[in-house]
């Protein structure tokens, strides 16, 4: 019987033949922690080894400072220092400090992620690395610490589902809307513990930014990982960053034609329209036009879901269509996902235009993914954001957030109320 992508990945990592339901020990290619949670890991490792323990391989551990960068309080600063000190003591050189950006994106850009890799991290959205065929997952600090002893951890081989996308996005509609559609259709536990293979012509033609968007919210459907087989320009890019081995790895994880899937659905994206996750859950999905006119106080464009160059460029096009001004009644914040993305935005001349339009353009971070960052919302305010969660109070107690695409978010910033971006593109 044929194997799915996740079965092939786990077979490589465990060195065993596996089937769905098996629980096996796997070798980690990378075990990472971010500033948010990282100090808990280093302190716990020191505690359980009486500060004498050495990590199994300093080259396979990375720290990324992305949630609260630069530090905004003494507590945060102290935790970041704890991580830096631990890394120095353990000989860990992959410390991507406050000047780099969002961890998963930084790891990708630095060629540290290959198709078929198994990667742990303290961020629940680690699994966006499935965008290049890696099996990455968010875990708690105990799982990270346990992996640092000898580079292993255990996984249950999950059932796989397949979701195929056909057709072409209409004007004002993009990958984020396809993702929002899936979250609304499948629900908050619609991928429960499963691996999901995304395929079809829409995916094969998608750029890296779009693939990242799609895989970034698998967690919001309780999925284990969303996987895309690298091809075309994405594979070329990956090869340029991570080396020739990615070609062989891509072959290795290619699913067999007779692999078994518990479900297979096909979606024609041509019929989609701009969608929003309404307060206070990602799966509370409505068309943007149904909530159009809702007054808002703040717009945020960025995050591991939609903070790539292409996302910011899409927002730029809407700003241009709207006359290069954002509504003075709305605070508009744009946060690129990495320094590399920010540099590209600068080179393209976009940052100056954003600033002139009244946008706050920040350094690369996770930004408004939690209330632990500048820009939090006061009670009673309504926000629009391209992040991945809008749980009650997530970015400020008593506030509410609508999640939507960069195009829809910028349309809201321009008009000062929730706006269907197609209204600006006419």
């Amino acid at each position: 019987m044929g194997k799915t992508m996740i079965e092939k990945i786990i077979e490589r990592a465990s060195g065993k033949q596996v089937k769905v339901g098996d629980r096996v020990w796997c070798h980690m290619d990378l075990s990472t922690a971010r500033d948010f949670g990282g100090a808990n890991c280093t302190e716990q490792f020191d505690k359980v080894t009486d500060k004498k323990g050495l990590v199994w391989d300093p080259d396979k551990i990375a720290f990324t400072f992305d949630l609260q960068a630069p530090a905004h309080s003494e507590g945060v600063a102290k935790n970041q220092k704890t991580i830096r000190d631990f890394a120095k003591r353990q000989g860990i050189s992959k410390v991507f400090d406050i000047n780099w950006g969002i961890g998963q994106h930084v790891l990708l850009e630095n060629g540290l992620v290959k198709p078929g890799d198994v990667i742990l991290g303290t961020d629940s959205h680690m699994n966006l690395l499935g965008a290049v065929g890696a099996f990455a997952t968010g875990v708690g600090n105990t799982d990270i610490v346990a992996s640092w002893f000898k580079g292993t951890n255990w996984f249950r081989v999950p059932e796989s589902m397949k979701i195929t996308a056909t057709g072409t996005f209409g004007k004002g509609v993009c990958m984020r809307d396809y993702l929002t559609y899936l979250v609304g259709r499948l629900g908050a536990d619609g991928m429960s513990f499963r691996s999901v293979e995304f395929d079809g012509p829409v995916i094969e033609n998608a750029n890296l930014a779009e693939r990242i968007t799609l895989c970034s919210m698998v967690t919001e459907m309780d999925g284990k990982i969303g996987l895309i087989l690298p091809n075309g320009e994405v594979l070329d890019w990956l090869r340029s960053r991570a080396g020739e081995e990615v070609i062989e790895r891509t072959k290795m994880i290619t699913p067999d034609a007779d692999a078994t899937y518990v479900s297979h659905m096909t979606v024609d994206v041509s019929s989609l329209e701009p969608l929003a996750s309404c307060p206070d859950a990602p799966d509370n999905v409505k068309p943007v036009r149904e909530v159009a006119g809702t007054p808002i106080n703040q717009v945020h464009i960025g995050s591991c879901s939609n903070g790539r160059f292409e996302d910011i460029a899409a927002a730029f096009d809407i700003l241009k269509a709207g006359g290069f001004t954002v509504s003075p009644s709305v605070r508009t914040i744009i946060t690129p996902s990495t320094r590399e993305v920010m540099t590209r935005c600068a080179e393209a001349g976009m940052i100056q235009k954003f600033l002139e339009a009244g946008v706050v353009f920040t350094n690369p971070t996770c930004s408004l993914c939690t209330a632990e960052h500048y820009g939090v919302l006061p009670s009673g305010d309504v926000g629009v954001s391209t992040t991945n969660r809008n749980f009650i109070g997530k970015v400020g107690k008593g506030s509410n957030t609508y999640l939507m695409s960069p195009m829809s978010a910028m349309a809201a910033a321009v008009r000062g109320v929730i706006t269907d971006p197609r209204d600006l593109l006419r």
Partner: protein, 164 residues
């Protein structure tokens, strides 16, 4: 092992931000302090009054959202006896195993149990005893039981490496 406790009942998709607010992840490092704010944004009554041995009953997808382990630590430290739910989010599920907090999947029991009643979980017989009758639940898989019997993932890994 058998535990009996008062039930605190909640709905579907309860996320880790309301179990342990993100604003505390840096300011609170001591487990005893974590316990004091457990469920603060979901149910202030629980935060004030939950007693050791009490049981949380949740709907589907309990513990979705952020991977923060404090969302389990705060309840474990509070002395919670168990969580019974229709289902658990996968990262939360792992964190419970790692923290040694008993979790049970039983949609039937969740539907039958009322908030505030006393419920007994009999782990040896694999039964939940409620006002409306008994509900069987399957034992943990052997692999998971092995982890739990060693005292969690880290002791298990250390044992396999011959470390104290």
């Amino acid at each position: 092992m058998k535990i009996t406790g008062k039930v605190w009942k909640y709905g579907d998709d309860v996320n880790t931000d309301v179990i342990f607010p993100g604003k505390y992840t840096y300011t609170i490092k001591e487990r005893s302090e974590m316990a004091k704010v457990a469920l603060e944004d979901l149910d202030p009554e629980f935060t004030k009054n939950a007693a050791p041995g009490d049981i949380i009953v949740g709907g589907k997808n309990w513990g979705c959202g952020s991977s923060r382990e404090q969302a389990v630590s705060c309840l474990k430290e509070r002395g919670l006896g168990a969580i019974i739910a229709k289902g658990f989010a996968r990262i939360y599920y792992r964190n419970c195993l790692n923290e040694g907090l008993p979790i049970i999947v039983s949609p039937e029991a969740v539907d039958a149990i009322e908030a505030g009643e006393d419920v007994t979980v009999d782990f040896d017989r694999g039964k939940i005893v409620t006002k409306k009758g008994e509900f069987a639940f399957p034992p943990y898989p052997d692999f998971v039981r092995g982890l739990i019997e060693d005292g969690g993932l880290i002791p298990h890994v250390k044992k396999s490496l011959g470390l104290k």
